[in-house]
Amino acid sequence: MSILVNSETRLLVQGITGNEGLFHTEQMLNYKTNIVAGVTPGKGGDWVLGGKVPVFDSVQTAVDVTGANVSVVFVPAKYVGDAIFEAVDAEIPLVVCITEGAPLQDMMRVRQYLSSRTTRLIGPNCPGLITPAESKVGIIPAEISIPGNIGVVSRSGTLTYEVLYSLKQNQIGVSTCVGIGGDPVKGLDFVEVLELFEADAKTDAIILIGEIGGDDEERAAEYIASSLTKPVIAFIAGLTAPAGKRMGHAGALIEGSLGTAESKIKALQTAGVKIARSPEEIPGLITP
C-alpha cells in the first residue's frame, strides 16, 4: 500500500503545454503514471506527446470527461493561486503544486479557502510524490527509488532525492515519498503526512527531512512523542546557516532564536527520533 497516490491515481496536469509541464509529463508517463488529461487555457482540443494525453481548456471539463482525481500544477508562479482555486472548485481531492516562487499572500488566500473544502494541497515549491512502481506525481527522478516499507516526508526537493538515492543503493525500499515543499505558507505539513503514514499498514518506519525556518519540525516532534508508534529517523539541513539570511527559498530563514537547526534536532531527539548527520548516513540508522 501507500499514501495519497497509487496505481488508481487518475492524474491531470495543469500547465501541460509549458516547457516543464511537458517534459515532466513525459517522465511521469514513462513511469506508467496514469495521466488522463492536461489543461492549458486556449489549447483545449489539442493532444500532446504523440496523441497520448488530451488537453482541455478548463479543469472542470477535464474532470467531467476523464474523471481525474489528482492534479499536478506546473503553471508559472503568477498564475499558481488561480490554478489551485480552479482545481479546488472542480473538487479534485488532491492537488500537488510543483511551481516555485508563488506569492505568499496568494498562498494565504488559497490556504484559507481550503479550510472550508475537502481538497488536500501539497506544495507549492515541492518535488511532488512517488509511490515506487505505481505512480509518480511531480518531478522526483524515476530511477532513484524502489518499492518498500519506508515512508519519506521532506520539506526539501533535491535533498529528498539524495535520501531516496542512498536508500536505493542500500536496497531499502519506499512505500511513498512526499515532498511537502519549503515555502512558509503551504498545504500539508509534517504532522498531517505523519498521520497518514501512521495509518498506512505498509509503512513500518518513517524518514523526516527538515530544514531551518518555521516550527514544522518542532510540531512534528510533539506529534511523534504523543501519538506516533512507528520509528522515525530525521535529517535537518542548515546547521551552518547564518541567522537573518534567507537561504534560497522563502522557508529557509532563521528569525531571531526561532527555527534553528539545533532547536529542531533537540526537539526531535527528545521525541525519540534518531538524527542522521548526513543523508548518506540514514540507511545505517534503519533497523530491519
Partner: protein, 380 residues
C-alpha cells in the same frame, strides 16, 4: 525586499497615513536647507537597512539648522552597523505624548496575516513580546475577508486607547492593511505611531518588507530596491536569478535546491572544511545560469576549491554540464573543481564532462571530502 524608511513613508502618504513633515537628503547642504525650511528642531535619520540604528547613532536630534549641518557632516558617509550612510531623512521634530506599536505581518504559525499592537511603542517589540506577551495584542486576520471594523475597535480597546482616538486609529490601521495587501508586503510596521502634544496621530517610523515572489506585480516598486544594501556579488547573483550568500570559508559551492545546498555546507563543516558561499541555482536552471553561477564563485578570491553538487530533478544534468564547459571555454579555472551529477540526465551530463580536468565524485560525502582536501592543499 526591505524598503528604506523614506520609501515606506512615501507609500504611507499615498495611503493617507500621517507622517511628520520631512524630506530626504544626500548632502550636508540639502540637510541645512531642509532643516531651515522645517523650522528649528529636526531629527536626522540615517537611511540604512539595519535594526538598532538609533543605538548606533543613526538617529540624532538638532535644535538648529546649524546643529543639523554638523550632524549631517558626521553622519553622511559614516558607517552604521556595517552600512555606509548615503541618504538621511530630515523630519520635523514632533512632541510626543504617547507611543504605540502597530504592525501587520505574515504569521507563519497561523498561515494568515496578523495584526499586532501595543501601548509600549518605540521599543523593541520582540523583546516586549518575549518578556511580557500580554502587552502585545495580536489578532489574526482572515486573508479572504480582510480586516473587520470590530477588530479595529477590539485592538484600540485592548491597548487602552482613549475613545477620542478610536476613529483616527481605525483609519490608520485600515490604510495600513491596504498598504499590506496592495504592496504584497510580508511586514508593514509603524514603531512608533505617536499621539502628539496637540492630540494628533502620526507615524514617526515606517518599515515595509515586500515579498520578492510578488515583485512582478509591482514593477514600479522594484525601483525601490536599495542596491547599496547588497554586496556587488549578491547584486550580480540577483541579476542572474541565483540565490547567493557570501560565507567565510574557502570551498565554493554550486548546488541545486536550498535544502541540498545547506546540507552540502553542513557536510563540508563536519569534515573540517568551510563553505565560501551558499549558492542555489534554483529549479530547472539552464546552461547560461550555471555558467553565471560558476563564474560568480570563481570570482571570489577566497575560493580554493569548488564543489558542484547537482541532483537532477527538474534540473537536467546535461544542461549543468554544458554550463560548466562554457566557463572552461573562456577561461581555464585556477582552482580544482569537484563535480557530482546524479538524477535527471546524469549519465549524459557526466559523459559531456569526460576529458576535462574536472574531478568527478560518486557520492556527496566523497565529493565533500575531495573538495575540503583540495582547498587545504590550495592554501599557501
Amino acid at each position: 525586499m526591505r524598503l528604506q524608511e523614506y520609501q515606506s513613508k512615501t507609500l504611507f502618504t499615498m495611503y493617507n497615513i500621517p507622517i511628520p513633515n520631512g524630506r530626504i537628503a544626500e548632502s550636508v547642504n540639502e540637510v541645512k536647507q531642509i532643516s531651515e525650511e522645517l523650522g528649528e528642531k529636526v531629527v536626522i535619520k540615517a537611511q540604512v537597512l539595519s535594526g538598532g540604528r538609533g543605538k548606533a547613532g543613526g538617529i540624532r536630534f538638532a535644535k538648529s539648522s546649524r546643529e543639523a549641518e554638523e550632524i549631517a557632516e558626521e553622519m553622511i558617509g559614516s558607517e552604521i552597523n556595517g552600512y555606509v550612510v548615503k541618504k538621511v531623512l530630515v523630519d520635523q521634530l514632533v512632541s510626543i505624548d504617547k507611543e504605540i506599536y502597530l504592525s501587520i505581518a505574515n504569521d507563519r504559525l497561523n498561515q494568515k496575516p496578523v495584526l499586532m499592537a501595543s501601548s509600549y511603542g518605540g521599543m523593541d517589540i520582540e523583546e516586549i513580546s518575549e518578556a511580557s506577551p500580554e502587552k502585545v495584542v495580536k489578532r489574526v486576520i482572515d486573508p479572504l475577508l480582510g480586516l473587520r471594523d470590530y477588530q479595529l475597535r477590539d485592538v484600540a480597546i485592548n491597548i487602552d486607547l482613549e475613545r477620542s482616538y478610536w476613529l483616527g486609529f481605525g483609519e490608520i490601521v485600515k490604510n495600513l492593511w491596504k498598504v499590506y495587501v496592495d504592496c504584497d508586503a510580508m511586514l508593514v510596521e509603524i514603531n512608533p505611531l505617536v499621539i502628539t502634544d496637540d492630540e494628533k496621530l502620526c507615524a514617526l517610523d515606517a518599515r515595509i518588507v515586500m515579498d520578492d515572489n510578488a515583485l512582478f506585480r509591482h514593477p514600479s516598486l522594484s525601483d525601490f530596491r536599495d542596491l547599496d544594501s547588497e554586496s556587488s556579488a549578491e547584486m550580480q547573483a540577483r541579476k542572474d536569478g541565483l540565490a547567493y550568500i557570501k560565507m567565510n570559508g574557502n570551498v565554493g559551492c554550486l548546488v541545486n535546491g536550498a535544502g541540498l545546498a545547506m546540507a552540502t555546507m553542513d557536510i563540508l563543516k563536519s569534515m573540517g572544511g568551510e563553505a565560501a558561499n551558499f549558492l542555489d541555482i534554483g529549479g530547472g536552471a539552464n546552461a547560461q545560469k550555471v555558467e553565471a553561477a560558476l563564474k560568480l564563485i570563481l570570482n571570489d578570491p577566497q575560493v580554493r576549491s569548488v564543489l558542484i553538487n547537482v541532483f537532477g530533478g527538474i534540473t537536467r544534468c546535461d544542461e549543468v554540464a554544458k554550463g560548466i564547459l562554457n566557463v572552461y571555454e573562456s577561461v581555464e579555472p585556477k582552482v580544482p573543481i569537484v563535480v557530482r551529477l546524479v538524477g535527471t540526465r546524469g549519465e549524459e551530463g557526466l559523459a559531456l564532462l569526460e576529458g576535462s580536468s574536472l574531478i568527478p565524485a560518486r557520492s556527496l560525502l566523497e565529493a565533500a571530502q575531495i573538495a575540503v582536501q583540495k582547498a587545504g592543499e590550495g592554501v599557501l
